[in-house]
């Protein structure tokens, strides 16, 4: 099982712990990562570049897809935003005429997107390529007794028609499936597929912080000891800005936010330090010590 690894900007910037944890977890899961193919791939545009020019965004993604196709490997993402923006670009480029026009801009680099590349998030790859039963067999330290709240990130759940939910209906509850497979319990709460507030952080911080406090506090109300997200941008807001949100709402929050591979890594028996659980703003000690108590 080999993939062309598209790490995205954030796992190489403000969330290096995600990159490290992904590498560690993939090793244990038998997922071989080719880190060379995508070295020259650009940012997806994150929906922001698309505000200025959607076609340019699609061109950058077509370029990335072409690189993947040339390597003969499927593309793996680890960010809900990357995944969603790529899926949307792909959906638009099913229009052959449009794809050809986009490709004409790539001819100088001798690249052509043939419409075959199928970028998929690690979250989906575990369920669809490894299979949830096989994945369960690899769990050596079930997270029994831990209640974990899922937080998807908008772009991996909407728009559902671009994300292949019809063909792969389990994608709708993939995060809950993983939480249960690692032996933990799902702390279900209404905000799990809402916005984390990150996109408006520099525009309307008050609203952004309100979103952080609403989600984290309602997850805690459901008994969550931590939250898990497949999106590093959500992580930046929910973890990095949690102290700011806590100050605004005037009450302590203190809910550790884990990246998806960190949660999986714990259940695979990887030591918390190798998963960089110490690199978070909100202390994750609670999760680690709760685990030490479980047999």
């Amino acid at each position: 099982m080999k993939y062309a690894f598209y790490p995205g900007c954030v796992s190489r910037g403000a969330a290096p712990e995600l990159y490290t944890a992904t590498i560690e977890v993939c090793k244990r899961l038998g997922i071989e990562l080719d880190t060379q193919t995508m070295e020259g791939a650009s940012c997806t545009g994150s929906g922001v570049l698309q505000e200025k020019n959607e076609r340019l965004g699609d061109t950058l993604n077509a370029r990335t897809f072409a690189m993947g196709e040339n390597s003969g490997l499927p593309i793996m993402t680890i960010c809900s935003t990357c995944q969603g923006v790529m899926s949307q670009a792909k959906a638009r480029m099913t229009d052959v005429e449009y794809r050809e026009s986009v490709n004409s801009d790539l001819s100088e680099e001798n690249l052509e997107y043939k419409g075959q590349a199928e970028p998929r998030h690690l979250l989906w790859i575990i369920i669809e390529d490894i299979g949830i039963e096989k994945f369960k067999e690899k769990i050596v330290k079930p997270l029994t007794g831990l209640k974990i709240a899922p937080f998807y990130g908008c772009y991996i759940v909407r728009p559902s028609d671009a994300l292949g939910f019809d063909e792969n209906p389990e994608r709708k509850h993939s995060l809950e499936m993983i939480i249960e497979a690692v032996g933990a319990e799902v702390a279900d709460f209404p905000g799990k597929s809402a916005c984390c507030g990150f996109p408006i952080l520099t525009i309307n911080e008050k609203n952004s912080m309100k979103m952080v406090s609403n989600h984290t506090l309602s997850a805690k109300k459901e008994g969550a000891v931590a939250m898990v997200t497949p999106c590093p941008l959500c992580h930046l807001n929910l973890d990095g800005y949690q102290p700011t949100a806590s100050k605004q709402v005037g009450q302590p929050i203190d809910l550790p936010i884990l990246h998806l591979p960190q949660l999986i890594g714990l259940a695979l028996g990887i030591d918390p330090k190798s998963l960089k659980l110490n690199q978070h703003i909100v202390n994750t000690e609670k999760v680690v010590s709760a685990l030490a108590l479980t047999p």
């Binding site: 954030v10 403000a14 020259g40 994150s46 570049l49 200025k52 996109p199 525009i203 309100k210």
Partner: protein, 317 residues
Amino acid sequence: MDVDLNIARFNPDAEGKSPYRQEFNIEVNETDTVLDGLIKIREEVDGTLALRCSCRSAICGSCAMRVNGQAVLACNTKITDLVSNKNKSINVEPIGNMKIIKDLIVEFDTHWEKIKAIDPWIKTDSSPPEAEYIASNESMVELAGVMGCIQCGACVSDCTVLAVDETFLGPAALAKAYRFIADPRDEANSQRLKDLNEPSGIWDCTRCMQCVEVCPKGVDPMGRIMKLRDFAMEAGFKNTNGARHAEVFSEIIRNNGVLNEFWLPVKTFGMFNIPEMLKLAPIGLKMVMRGKMPPIFYEKIPGYKNITKLFEKTKVL
């Protein structure tokens, strides 16, 4: 086939006035919609159940409600699509972000006020043409998509910004604003864009796509808001954090191929914006202490010049 409709009830005249849940087990046909189920309850089980409906054909927009946590038109939501052998329970609630009057009926006043606030009529300065206004087919086809809005309130219900800030104009009103700005006959674009550029306008949208997902008519409110942002920037309204963010983001990608999270907020606020820099500093410091500060001098991707060229070709920036 029998299903359980778990309905959110609220009667303002009842003592205590608190909302409660009530479950109804009913027999339904395979072709029945959630609305059919609700009408059956009202007619055969509990005549006090309050709901709005009219056309039953997804045209009038009266029966928007939240079914299993998502805003839909009850009349085009089939019960069989929601239940399985394992789960025959369906949650029905009034739409969100509006005040509940009774059971599934909500107060639309705030919604209409926002629609009115964007001046939903064509404004012209010049004297009317001698015959009819001529608009290109192309421009009207583009507008037809947004004119398909039936004002059902589904997008307003599930908007994640309205959930935390009732002053936000919201997806329905902003889509309506787009309908006039993109109309070739309208001559008030500049003023309209200036107004929408204010707080609670186009830049407060989080791009979460809830409105796109729940709209039963394919209006794509968020897509319209993104176009309005583009129009606003092109019209020269660039002095907002939102516009600067989009500008700086694009510039970083153009020059490096990838994003640099250190420079994005710094350049968006402006390095000499002392209050904002002071607010960023402690967060930056905490990140440094945890070993996760993005590098100040970001590595460019190999072949970044090709990305710059693509930007030049598309004439962005």
